[in-house]
Symmetry: D2
Subunit: 364 residues, 4 copies
């Protein structure tokens, strides 16, 4: 306790007067207050408080990656913050069960009073999407055309300015591109890698050819998939091909960033890659949790409204479902398994390189 | 303790010798045993044990509904069993997190040895789907063509025979059709209901017309949706129209069953409807949990394999994703919100009818 | 949309300006802002929002039970509200995982600035405890002596006044006492019940005598337990004995309320008891969840502080642990299993009574 | 697919014939089969399968720590395996909800047939406890006297032999003792540490003295706690004092191991400590999850049996509750917060040392 420190009182510290008086059901303005509107308000307010917390973590993470260099000890803190974001997301996903205790009939008793408000107007949620890297270009069409029109000028201007700030996706991409691990001197890593992947794909092809019970149409489909995968493998080391596939949406990360991420994933057990690999895994999980939230949310909306329209005038569940497919950010990491090899087939790293991937201490 | 009762020993009772010696990693037959194959085996065995439990509950529920009459006190047990199924499903959904502790690389170290085994060959899972009501006709095409070819003769014959047994969907439909609550004597319930729904849809239309910020294309879309909903409302009481929409897939339940389910949902607070409404809610949740399981499972497979093919020779995640949309059973219940009214707009039930919906005790 | 209805805007409706500006870290007043203090504030604010929601449900439930008569259709709504409370509690229990993402070191960077604020000063949490029935008389000593001194006058007066309002425990007790099901005319239910329980206890005694492997000290202990249970059974129907045990803390409910609750539990499958039994089960679960929350909370505090003192100047985890044992409310319901019989040994209800426990409809 | 590889079939691979025919309800031998006994069997079988998986991970972890040296890259795998154990434990804790769908009445319909079987006879659970480090000496008395008498000879002999194998606790202790980080050359770390902790404790004392609202008895209690903490701090660097406290149960780890664990915890953000700190955190969480499982399990048993005796002839919930307090393993880690300092008060590490705690790469 510092000298002259003012004693702290729980209710004042948490500003409970302000917080617990911020629930004003609209239904009260049009006759009888609907009992469940309080739940509706509080569920959304809790979401917004957690969004604030997630944005607080994201901001700190962005600040570190915006620097020229990210020190190893800083990664500990970054991973810690991202794991907290994941922990909050798991809670948000759980929270849908609380909203589902409201029956459709209960919702109808106040739905009309909320028009045209809508979750699409959550500025913090958009800040989160934009901050992670889901900028206009990557959104599904509905967003591009129809999203900004729903906002008031202040909110719209604020978010549109944000689209010009570097997102986590962009900063991570740059950080991966800066990684020094791709220069191996004489060690022809990528050549060995390609040989190993060729033989893996050949094996996959043999599997598909060898399963008798497979319907012919199914077999065709699978062989086609393998061919596409071959093409992607080839593109990894061919910048022209890569760029072409990237423009078709097959990759989002730059080639160099993609190769760094792949190398980290392949040799994830080397000490120096432990934190970077945890970081990539966190990003994948954040993306996955966001997708599961969208999906569960869409089902909840559907159960609440059926085919009725939402308060914002659109059939929300439909929109939300489309976003689960498209509005993904770190898809390259999510699909990384495509390019992995079993440990037993990994090209062995030369001793000198291996030492450099360890701790200073161990190398004494 | 009964006379002559043999003392029971924990390990014998649970047949642990048999249970804990049923994990034989294939990788051990081809060189080094892969550490994570045990996890893979045990995760699937636990799934199968829970499937057995769910089938045990389902069988008991089917037996009751197969009777001419379902007594009120039997419904207590039915709802109890279905809630247990839901509780198990929540655990199954949680369990995916355990599987996700296996990295793609770890999976690759034994994946090839399992070809062409596949989760599609789980007989119990298909028993569950068929038992609930997901018979061939309702499955996505992949299932129809390609599913049965993967099974050995014994399993295929067993499951194909099962397709001819009455499913829970069919028995519930019959039970709803038998409900005596739709005869109201002089009380013109459905007429009042239609008036109330008309005015609700008119209000919805006004909402969509009134929101200035709505893009024109979006407005068109929404008005189209409302028109479709009007058509569905009209069809509810017009057996010819209903039949037409049913054939287009807009309804799966028969008209009479649908009306019973709707009436129960509208007056869910009447004591006599308490258990029936819980029952309908349970069915909706079982369907929803199955869908969420498929979805999370699909994401896990995708993360594990990328665009690689699965052990059964198909890109599992793609198949699984398609099933989340199509392989639903109680969709009519899931979309019931479409047809609901706010409590304040519900036609009041005549006193005589209301008394008959209460307890004998209360009516003394 | 009502005529003249003002358009609703998401951020205004949720009062986000107020909500999202209510986080003022104390550390900012004493030098560098501690990154994790925001988490600390938001975690507690979210708790308080959920407490407000739980109190909203509790208030509605209390209002119904304060009436002379609780109608059957009202029970549907009551059970629904209590299930929502349970759903929120499950989330609160989950939420501890988010708090645990803060390391002890991070907490230390701002702990001192919060002195002497403490969770013990949460007025809403005490409102909840008092509202459920945990009044001063039932609290552990720490509460009685030390709790109220920590509050400011306004909060203390408010809570002390609340102690004189009827709690849920008291209203439920009255409702159980009013139940008409205990008058059976000629049917000597309780006599049959006592015969059945005697033979059950005899069987238990034989079990303990019969297990060879039981250490003698253990056997003594168990026989002592059975003797105590016999005494409790005897007391159920002997108001003098009951009163004596009640004063020793073995029962909290009045004898008549206890018998009603027992009868409902024994015949829980009768339709008329479906909702009452759900209600009793909900109360047990609410109590259990509160206990689990206290326990997990105590462990979290211990992990955060070790044996250091908390911001309120006491070793919080110790206090919290003691409360998990003592600060329970519906313990009689929680221990109800003591008095239950297997279904096969339940005295059969006479046909006339059984009919009266069914629906009016079924008795037509 | 290897040449001559036998095609794999799902049901054969998982040995489903064996697995799904291992549920034989005892009640079937004494008249009518009790519906819920299947649940009881399957819940316990699933527990045993997960125990097998946890033991599989534990065995692999023990094997690494049994070596002279643990390489940095091995720690990645260790932490990964322990996180999997945690993930399984979270599922086990969740699983109690499934068991709770069985009512006390349902349990009574077959309880008597299981006498004297009991969960205390789970050999795998004891293997797990012993493997982690909960050997006879550390157990509560009930275990010491009464546990082994319940087992058959084979199981007893097997477990008693296991008590002589090195446990995870012992191996971790040795690994911590081997750590080279405690030799600092000229750097008088522990002296600086003690100065910092003294001033922290002085501040704590001032806090307790300064809070006016604290009852005098409470203040005494807290000052006593602080005095004890001072004693523990002093003992950290005084091997005689440490040994004394260790014998009183205040510490379980050896002094040297404790100091290593403390140093790792204090400088957890240094790259070289990232994995060791994750390891220590995992051990704490495994211990904590085991405790929460015991606690929830005890509550479930209490709800199922009331004060009735369990199938093994003892009041299980009581035993289980006592174990939540005493049967802990890594308590030193759990209480580590006692000895931590805020980051701002940590003695700064000399540059040379700091470099040696980083990656080789960074030091190039």
């Amino acid at each position: 306790m510092q000298k002259n420190q003012k004693p702290c009182y729980y209710g004042d510290y948490l500003q409970l007067d302000q917080l617990l008086n911020a629930q004003a059901p609209e239904s009260a303005n049009y006759g009888a207050e609907a009992h469940d509107e309080t739940l509706f308000i509080i569920v959304h307010q809790v979401y917004e408080l957690w969004f604030k917390q997630i944005l607080h973590e994201l901001k700190a993470v962005l600040a570190v990656f915006a620097e020229e260099e990210v020190k190893d000890e800083q990664l500990t803190g970054i991973v810690h913050k991202l794991k907290r974001v994941i922990s909050i997301q798991q809670l948000l996903n759980q929270q849908i069960a609380v909203m589902e205790t409201m029956t459709p009939q209960d919702f109808m008793s106040f739905r009309d009073y909320l028009v045209p408000a809508s979750g699409f107007q959550s500025v913090q949620f958009k800040m989160l999407e934009i901050g992670l890297g889901l900028k206009s270009d990557y959104r599904i069409d509905f967003d591009k055309n129809s999203f900004y029109t729903r906002l008031n000028d202040k909110d719209r201007n604020f978010l549109q300015a944000l689209e010009h700030q570097p997102s986590l996706f962009e900063l991570i991409e740059k950080w991966l591109e800066r990684m020094p691990f791709l220069e191996f001197g004489d060690f022809s890593f990528w050549q060995l890698y390609q040989q190993a992947t060729q033989s893996m794909l050949n094996r996959d092809e043999a599997i598909v050819q060898g399963i008798e019970q497979l319907a012919e149409s199914e077999r065709e489909l699978q062989l086609g998939e393998i061919a596409k995968t071959r093409q992607k493998f080839a593109a990894l080391l061919d910048s022209e091909e890569y760029h072409k596939l990237q423009q078709q949406g097959a990759f989002r990360l730059s080639q160099r960033a993609m190769l760094s991420a792949l190398f980290i994933s392949l040799y994830q057990e080397e000490p120096v890659f432990n934190l970077p690999f945890q970081l990539l895994t966190c990003l994948t999980e954040i993306d996955e949790n966001l997708t599961i939230w969208r999906y569960k949310h869409a089902m909840m909306v559907q159960r609440m409204l059926g085919t009725k329209i939402g308060t914002g005038g659109s059939s929300g569940h439909d929109y939300l479902k489309r976003t689960t497919e498209k509005n993904r950010i770190f898809t390259d990491l999510f699909h990384m398994a495509t390019f992995l090899l079993p440990k037993s087939e990994l090209p062995a790293l030369p001793a000198g390189l291996k030492k450099r991937l360890g701790f200073y201490f161990a190398g004494d």
